[in-house]
Symmetry: C2
Subunit: 337 residues, 2 copies
């Protein structure tokens, strides 16, 4: 795979590489005629500057590193689309890594990205990343980092999240107002920010209506342990009449578990899922969802990051942006209440 370099052009045109470089960069300290010649010839040979050489020289790459727990997930793939849409327009490209919910993989991924001299980092923490020193070090060294969705409270930088508290509050309130008495919450690892916020929202709604908080109605599922369905079965033993579920996969597992136990939805148990599943409408009954604005989260996050990158000289303006979350109550999901 040989490629055309400035040298090739210089040799062919009997010029020095610096002159060719100037011509290509559109410098003004150059003869118009020479410039024309160079550009023409470069075009003919389909010359492309070598970004690797540029990276080495400038110690940057015009690339953004993105680390997500997984991409086979509606929320994250939609977020990535939002990130890409903006990055593409602003001349950056996006390098995506998956942590697969593993702390170790996350650390390795980030090392790779840093070694590759990404100009900034967008990250949603793996569910096992309780220690974030790998990130705080980078942040202190001056690498622009923006968190989205699963954030680290201990690191002071920009963050973009959905209003998980409000989402959980609204969903729980909805269940209460439609007559549910024993509302369970099936959620993810207790130490990730999203889980905590949702749990708080759930509790706040219970409190508002003077519902008792029952520990046994909360179940956490941790990735890579037992089957999520089993956890739902345990939950069912405590006789909930509604379940508020966090995240795509847990929602699917919950529905599968209920189906397996032949539980009638929503007659016996109502379900509300925090999910960006595209099939919620097709289910029977249609699933009531609390939907995160994934695309917008991605867009907002990359915009904040690019701002940090491009104003790197000034003292950084960190922002935490909380985007509205939408609850979609689909017809018939509450029909029997």
């Amino acid at each position: 795979m040989e490629t055309v370099t400035i040298k090739d052009i210089a040799k062919a045109l009997n010029l020095s590489t610096s002159t060719v470089s100037r011509a290509l960069r559109g410098s003004h300290e150059i003869n118009e005629e020479t410039k024309r010649m160079v550009l023409e010839y470069a075009e003919k040979l389909n010359y492309r500057p070598n970004p690797i050489a540029l990276s080495l020289k400038e110690n940057r790459s015009r690339a953004i590193g993105v680390v997500v727990p997984e991409i086979a997930n509606n929320f994250f793939s939609q977020t990535i689309n939002g990130i890409e849409a903006i990055a593409y327009n602003r001349g950056y490209h996006v390098v995506i890594f998956q942590s697969h919910e593993s702390y170790e993989r996350e650390v390795v991924n980030i090392e790779h990205l840093v070694a590759r001299k990404v100009d900034g980092l967008l990250i949603s923490l793996s569910s096992h990343s309780t220690n974030v020193s790998h990130l705080s070090e980078l942040h202190e060294k001056g690498l622009p980092v923006v968190f989205f969705d699963r954030v680290a409270d201990t690191i002071e930088t920009s963050k973009v999240v959905a209003d998980n508290f409000k989402g959980a509050f609204t969903a729980t309130e909805h269940l209460i107002l439609t007559g549910r008495k024993r509302i369970a919450h099936f959620t993810g690892s207790p130490w990730i920010s999203v889980t905590q916020e949702r749990l708080l929202g759930y509790k706040a709604a219970l409190e508002k209506y003077n519902f008792p908080f029952e520990e046994s109605l909360i179940k956490h599922y941790e990735f890579g342990t037992n089957e999520a369905k089993e956890v739902v079965f345990e939950l069912l033993e405590n006789k909930p009449d509604a379940i508020l579920v966090s995240r795509d996969k847990l929602t699917l597992s919950c529905l599968a578990a209920l189906k397996e136990k032949k539980v009638k939805i929503p007659d016996e148990i109502a379900v509300v899922g925090f999910t960006n599943l595209t099939v919620a409408d097709l289910l029977d009954p249609p699933l009531t969802t609390v939907c995160q604005p994934a695309f917008e989260i991605g867009q907002t996050a990359i915009e904040l990051l690019l701002d940090l990158i491009e104003k790197k000289d000034k003292t950084p303006q960190y922002k935490t942006i909380k985007l509205g979350i939408e609850m979609i109550i689909r017809e018939s999901s509450t029909k029997l209440l």
Copy 2:
């Protein structure tokens, strides 16, 4: 973001950069004691070789470029997981780009990847890539390229696909054997390989059972045009009693369209979807699917690619691998036949 370089180590230890380099590379032409010292100090400073400098020097990157139409799609995200699993173990990393079903984006993506000196390319063509000269040129220049799923017949290199012919044949035969008389086929752009293979399988099954082939029972949907649901409505005018649908999104659109028209599935119309949707079991009735081995396709593709890359000196051994496809007939989807 300053980083530790060989120079820093050399200076601190009063050595030349070459000695340090040798120590780090584990060369044998070096004093054991010096080596120990260097390694120790490098460890202490958390030295990491700069892959960009290496890329510039060696004209390669230990990175694989992957171009897919979109990642917010079960099939492709699962494929990417397969690719990553192998690449990671063999010391390569994976750079993912989306063509968003656009020929122009695909061309730009590939240019980026080539400029970044990827060691090889894995690609599933966008639905608008009828012209593949951008790829054949690269292939002729010696860049290892492996196609998966949506392949280019005109380029002679390794390819990994599912047995789409057989999948469509089996599905159609299943519909025939369960008593369907007017089997429609709702599918994607006519010029992509997958569409063609499936169409052939569908036709072959009809032929085997002496069913007439009816042009009006075939509908193609092209991304970015009108609504997929509208196309299904058109199809319904021709009174099918079964629909074989290609791809995730089309299957969802088809189900949504049927639901909107209050068509009873499978009583009035049976549906079989070529899809890797994880919710097929949860639908009512459960959806019969023809399921591509996405993870394995990814694994196989990257293995072939790495073989091409690592045996670049020898004359390349191109293979076309067709992986088995699985039809999952879920209970009750045929209950009334």
